[in-house]
Symmetry: C3
Subunit: 307 residues, 3 copies
């Protein structure tokens, strides 16, 4: 029996739509609770009762204990709860900031335990290149690549084992986000990486949306699902239209609501649950009104989850 | 006055999303009623009260009478009814299996009459080529083509006349599915074919979605509608995004919900009803979560059908 | 405080889906109220209580007073009201019809005042070329271009000042529609034009959908928003999927519902309201079932407007 049903499965809003710097140039990291409440209220107004304080918006692990308590009070006041914490672009093998991000990752684990979030999403994605920042869709411009170097792979494995031990001590799970051109950039590589880490607390965030949107050949989602769902510990869910011309190889993609894109989440979610998936879902959407589409995606998930 | 309104017009779910072979390698054709009920219950859960036992899922015409009764009991128990039967890729002029599929088509007519389904969809589409099976979207790879040979056209006409006589004896209609590169591959050819058959029981299934998704120039749906709706006896309804660059001729398509695609079904359905259309609708969708999109399409149809 | 909230902000249906000539060859301009009522009832059936009698359907400014009264009675009977009037392809600097369209524009202002519509949309778009008429999507074929000629720009400014004075006398606002290859074809040019007109009654209709659908490089909507929303006096709202390959520059677009397209209207509407926007919205959609998508877009706007 799955631990939740379509009515009570936690479905968390991403905070991707909310930038770290306000239009006035103010850092969200420095805002007071009243200002945080404005963004959180918007999430509530879109119908969410769960959200993930994605660190592209706010690094709650870098708040003082007093400020964290203010934050949690605000979250509670607007009526939200936090089942998970997502980090973005804080690779522990970042060539320039790896050590710093490793220390940060440890703080995130402690914070997750402190606030009762059961899972944290880490990944090897790095800061966007200038070309990616210029692009309408950053995934159509070349980005950083994890090196084809066994020593760096080994370092990544070792650091994840270290984080896994910490996670185990504080009772939190780790999900590693699949992302192109990283060691988690294909289903085979992601599964191999997790097997190398070989720690019961460390699994995958099978975010295939990161891959099916690429303008290059990609593995079919069903094949990726078979390989990666058994390791899933958290799940960033998003979808894309993907046109492929079999005659020319021409590929065009565009962000799509969950129901309409190329990944069949009705089937994928069933496969996940059959494989024992019992963690929250994280609904995100790039392009246009991400919060509204995330809300639409939440309603779709409610329709297709088990009764 | 149309025979139905937006509340009671029969709108049947396709069973395209349900494969003939289960993940465990079991044939649906050999399953017992409890297993059929799982798939049928999923259709019910998506809000359908009508479905079409599309033979890519289950060939009900090939069940023994005892098994057919089990099937019908199951259908009734879950709360579904069957207004029509669709066959797929059983061309009576298939070079290798034409005679076999002709015999099968006769059995389908008898089965339709036996279970009270008023219409059957036949077509000249053939098995997918290996290249089509490999493609993300099979319609972007070249498929079989009906020969430019008057003798084969004549054979197709003769066999449809034979099936038309049988259909008339048992009180069932035949709708021929428009499909690229067959004798029903354009509005003009489809209309000419039906006129050659010249039997009141034999009309068209104006499935323009099969055509507007092609990455080649295609006739505008309005022109196809004028030519084919007067012959419509059943209707596979689906839609596509279709981008065409007038300057370069570049075409990109993707599966779309009915409301959002290039075919204006509000207008098409009105044209059909004005032309006397009184048969069920069949909602299908390739790509992603076809059952959910089919349910969304059903709700759209309910909104635009006459009060 | 914005003057309306999500429940009562006027959101007008476009009449783009309704052609000026019926399938039987009859001009809507010559129809009687019973025939107008059929189209208006369809708008009501789609859930609208406001509509804009777009003049591609019916030129209400060219009705006699008796006929206009019939029209208004019909509008009232079906339960609609008219917050604005949109003109299409009646450029006051049209090389062949500029004088005629100027006179017509004056009549439109008087009619708007007569019927209590607070704003009129004018623009410099011209009749579609034959290539545009042939195209599936007219904006993918080259269209007329406003000349790079200061004398014509000056004439355009002068005529808009003249219309602005008239508008002021009768208490109506003028919104100039952003449209490619006209003097209102980019955010910078549109803002410069309005500043040249320099009349408090004359502002913009920031219809960025006209631009983001183009298969050429276009400015990001956020940048256009900053430049044009301060001048907005009416707003044609529509959205598009827009795929851009940063590596090749390849662009593909397709009409999209407001919620799903590249422009984030949640953010854009907030920016507009922060800049003082207090006029109605006009929901339109090209391609497929424009009326249904417009209704879907209306519901989306209701969700994201201020409580």
């Amino acid at each position: 029996m799955p631990p939740f049903n379509r009515l009570d499965w936690p479905i968390a809003a991403a905070m991707l739509q909310f930038p770290a710097v306000t239009p006035k140039g103010e850092l969200v990291q420095d805002q007071g609770p009243d200002e945080w409440a404005v963004s959180l209220q918007e999430v509530v107004d879109a119908g969410f009762i769960h959200f993930d304080p994605t660190d592209s918006w706010l690094r709650i692990a870098d708040l003082s204990e007093a400020r964290l308590e203010e934050f949690l009070r605000t979250v509670k006041q607007v009526g939200l709860s936090i089942p998970a914490i997502t980090t973005a672009r804080r690779s522990v093998i970042d060539p320039d900031h790896g050590d710093e991000y490793l220390a940060y990752s440890h703080r995130v684990l402690d914070t997750a335990a402190r606030i009762g979030a059961g899972v944290v999403s880490f990944g090897f994605l790095r800061a966007l290149t200038p070309a990616q920042q210029q692009a309408l869709w950053f995934w159509t411009a070349p980005g950083p690549k994890d090196p084809d170097d066994p020593a760096v792979w080994k370092l990544a494995v070792t650091r994840m084992q270290e984080l896994g031990r910490h996670a185990d001590e504080v009772g939190v799970n780790i999900a590693l986000e699949m992302y192109e051109d990283t060691y988690l950039g294909s289903a085979d590589s992601a599964a191999a990486f997790v097997r190398d880490v070989n720690h019961p607390r460390v699994g995958l965030n099978p975010d295939w949306g990161n891959l099916v949107r690429l303008l290059r050949p990609v593995e079919r989602w069903e094949a990726m699902a078979e390989k990666t769902l058994p390791y899933a510990k958290y799940w960033h869910i998003k979808n894309y239209f993907r046109s492929e011309d079999a005659a020319t190889g021409n590929v065009v993609t565009a962000p799509a609501p969950l129901e309409f894109g190329v990944i069949n989440y009705r089937k994928a979610v069933r496969m996940a649950i059959d494989a024992g998936y019992d963690a929250p879902f994280y609904v995100e959407h790039y392009g246009g009104d991400g919060l509204s589409v995330s809300a639409t995606n939440r309603e779709y998930l409610r329709r297709i989850l088990p009764r």
